[in-house]
């Protein structure tokens, strides 16, 4: 991962988030019992009947620190052999649960065995892990086969950036790498799709605004509510212009005005870069005290032959908090990758002269 692991101190620092979680929990218990609901009701039933708390100024309260860790091992695109089946079977879920338990045991190991074969990668406990088995076979929920629609002919000619751990093709410059490796951004979707770590999303609301903060590459989207229109099409940004409103208890965020040819729609913003026609509609719905269902429709007619949709839950976990992810400030990987490539150029040249 080219030195982009940040130090993750484990201490008693996040009492406050426990307090916030407990407050949210207690408030929910109070409101749930008032409406005669049991908090232990199955998720599907709760999703219909759950009434989220309100902020003092009357908006549905989505605030908290969430993670998509449970979906770390769920692929964006569904393996073809699973066809149109979106949900895992009970047996498959049980198997995932067993894997989560055994992995947790393995992660307790602090030192490699004396004769262990170790590579250059990080030890297993450095990554984040799913805590509960996911329910889905893929993050893509539409089209029904869980696959990205075909690229347009023009989009197939666009070059995708070089990702982490890949030194072939050899980079001529920083411009050959993805915007993530360059510590610039992962784009809107890349900032919330689950990856091996740093999956934290914190939501802070104020009157007229929702802020969505993401740990990795330290994103902060400030979304004005009920402002009606986007900024002029002459203003284009990596993260686009987001405007929001509530539909019932769901926050709907509409984002346009993206720069063309920057990030893609894969994990960490990799893959074929999207165009200036990209239009995202995201929906955030709190379905129980700890869970927000996230949904995004990706429409980019210059890149994909039809719109497609991704959905997965993000959830709160006691003690989980965001840390500062100073990516560019410590991007030694970029210097090292480029100087390595130049050293290889030199070696090739020397070999050619002989």
């Amino acid at each position: 991962m080219k030195g982009r692991f940040q130090m993750r101190a484990r201490n008693l620092a996040s009492l406050a988030s426990i307090v916030v979680l407990t407050i949210a929990g207690l408030m929910l218990l109070t409101s749930a019992s008032a409406t005669g609901q049991t908090p232990a009701a199955p998720k599907a039933a709760a999703a219909k009947a759950f009434t989220p708390p309100k902020t003092p100024w009357g908006d549905p309260d989505l605030q908290g620190t969430f993670t998509s860790d449970d979906y770390i091992n769920t692929p964006l695109q569904r393996p073809a052999n699973l066809g149109d089946r979106l949900y895992l079977t009970n047996e498959e879920i049980a198997a995932r649960e067993a894997t989560i338990k055994s992995t947790a045991q393995t992660d307790l190991q602090e030192f490699a065995g004396a004769n262990a074969r170790v590579g250059t990668g990080p030890p297993s406990h450095w990554g984040e892990r799913a805590k509960h088995p996911p329910k889905q076979t893929s993050l893509i929920v539409d089209p029904p086969d869980g696959r990205m629609p075909p690229l347009t002919a023009e989009a197939r000619t666009r070059k995708a950036g070089i990702g982490a751990g890949n030194n072939d093709p050899r980079p001529d410059s920083w411009e050959d790498f993805t915007y993530y490796i360059r510590c610039i951004t992962r784009g809107v979707t890349g900032s919330i799709f689950p990856v091996i770590y740093g999956n934290g999303t914190q939501i802070v609301q104020g009157p007229g605004y929702v802020t969505i903060l993401q740990e990795m590459v330290h994103e902060a989207r400030v979304i004005p509510l009920n402002v009606g229109t986007h900024v002029s099409g002459n203003i284009r940004t990596y993260m686009g212009d987001s405007i929001g409103h509530f539909e019932g208890n769901t926050l709907v965020v509409d984002t346009t005005n993206f720069l063309a040819g920057k990030t893609g729609t894969g994990p960490n913003g990799g893959g074929t870069p999207t165009s200036d026609a990209l239009h995202l509609v995201e929906r955030f719905t709190r379905v129980d005290a700890d869970t927000v269902n996230y949904e995004v429709t990706i429409d980019d007619p210059k890149t994909y032959t039809k719109p497609w949709k991704v959905a997965f839950p993000i959830y709160q976990e006691p003690g989980y908090q965001l840390f500062e992810y100073a990516c560019h400030e410590g991007n030694y990987a970029m210097k090292n990758s480029l100087s390595g490539a130049r050293a290889q150029d030199k070696a090739d040249e020397a070999a050619g002269k002989k």
Partner: protein, 280 residues
């Protein structure tokens, strides 16, 4: 990151929860909910749970980012930029205009200033730290909830969430520090610790160490002006704590909103240009 849940915390938590519930329930009933479904019509509430509402887009005016002390206009380092690259003069924001450097530190400040472009972290698009983020020539957005307060700065997408709950110790040193907030009457007081030694105060080489401790005070002078004050303490660099003070103005343009200044792409040629493949 996660940790075990010690039993003692439950008691502390319950006390805080009860207090918080009382706070939440009290003023809520007195306040009309914001109108929804209408574009930008409803005026924002002036208070959230009885505390002033700082939510909005703010910016400083002045030349403090060039030099936090009183300074005359002077030429910039690149003559090619002419008047555009010159440094405007202006009044500083330091109380009494004196920064009480220890002798070695004053020498280093001067050296920094002489090597501005090579050393200023702003040039490299690094996160600016606190308080510098407040008076850079970019706006920043405060989003204030009934719990925590988020501040998103336009420069480099730097941001921080001010923890308004039980104060937490800085877990690691960072560029933007660890912010714990509290209310002193109608003033928001933010205690910021856990800084690294890599940020500066301005483009004139004013610097600090990793012992930096900043206490900020935000007070509404009127709906559209915040009186901002910060006490700066760093026993490794200064002989005593000192203060800066400046007003922050609300951006009042119609549809004013936080822009995006992700400046990394503007620095890569500078930082990595020597490692670009050379044409044969």
């Amino acid at each position: 990151m996660r940790y075990r849940f010690p039993g003692v915390i439950i008691i502390v938590t319950l006390v805080v929860v009860i207090a918080a519930l009382l706070l939440v329930v009290g003023p809520t009933t007195a306040q009309a909910p914001a109108q929804r479904g209408q574009p930008a019509a409803a005026a924002p509430p002036r208070a959230i749970n009885g505390k002033p509402n700082f939510t909005g887009l703010w910016q400083s005016i002045g030349t403090a980012n060039y030099d936090i002390q009183d300074h005359s206009a002077r030429p910039g380092p690149l003559f090619q930029l002419g008047a555009v690259g010159a440094i405007p003069g202006g009044q500083g924001i330091v109380e009494g205009n004196e920064i009480p450097y220890q002798p070695w530190a004053l020498a280093k400040k001067k050296e920094n200033q002489a090597n501005w472009l090579a050393r200023d972290p702003e040039v490299k698009c690094y996160m600016p730290g606190i308080p510098r983020a407040t008076y850079m020539p970019f706006p920043f957005q405060i989003v204030q909830s009934q719990k925590d307060i988020a501040i998103a700065y336009e420069f480099a997408t730097a941001n921080r969430v001010i923890n308004m709950g039980t104060p937490r110790e800085a877990a690691v040193d960072t560029w933007m520090g660890t912010s714990n907030g509290r209310w002193d009457g109608q003033t928001l007081v933010v205690d910021v610790t856990g800084f690294n030694e890599d940020t500066w105060f301005d483009r004139s080489g004013n610097f600090h160490s990793d012992a930096l401790h900043v206490v900020e005070r935000y007070t509404l002078r009127s709906q559209d002006v915040i009186d901002y004050e910060a006490t700066i303490d760093d026993s490794k660099v200064f002989t005593r704590p000192w203060k800066i003070r400046l007003p922050l103005y609300r951006r009042l343009e119609q549809n004013a909103r936080l822009g995006e200044f992700k400046c990394v792409e503007f620095t890569e040629e500078l930082l990595y240009g020597n490692l670009r493949k050379q044409a044969k």
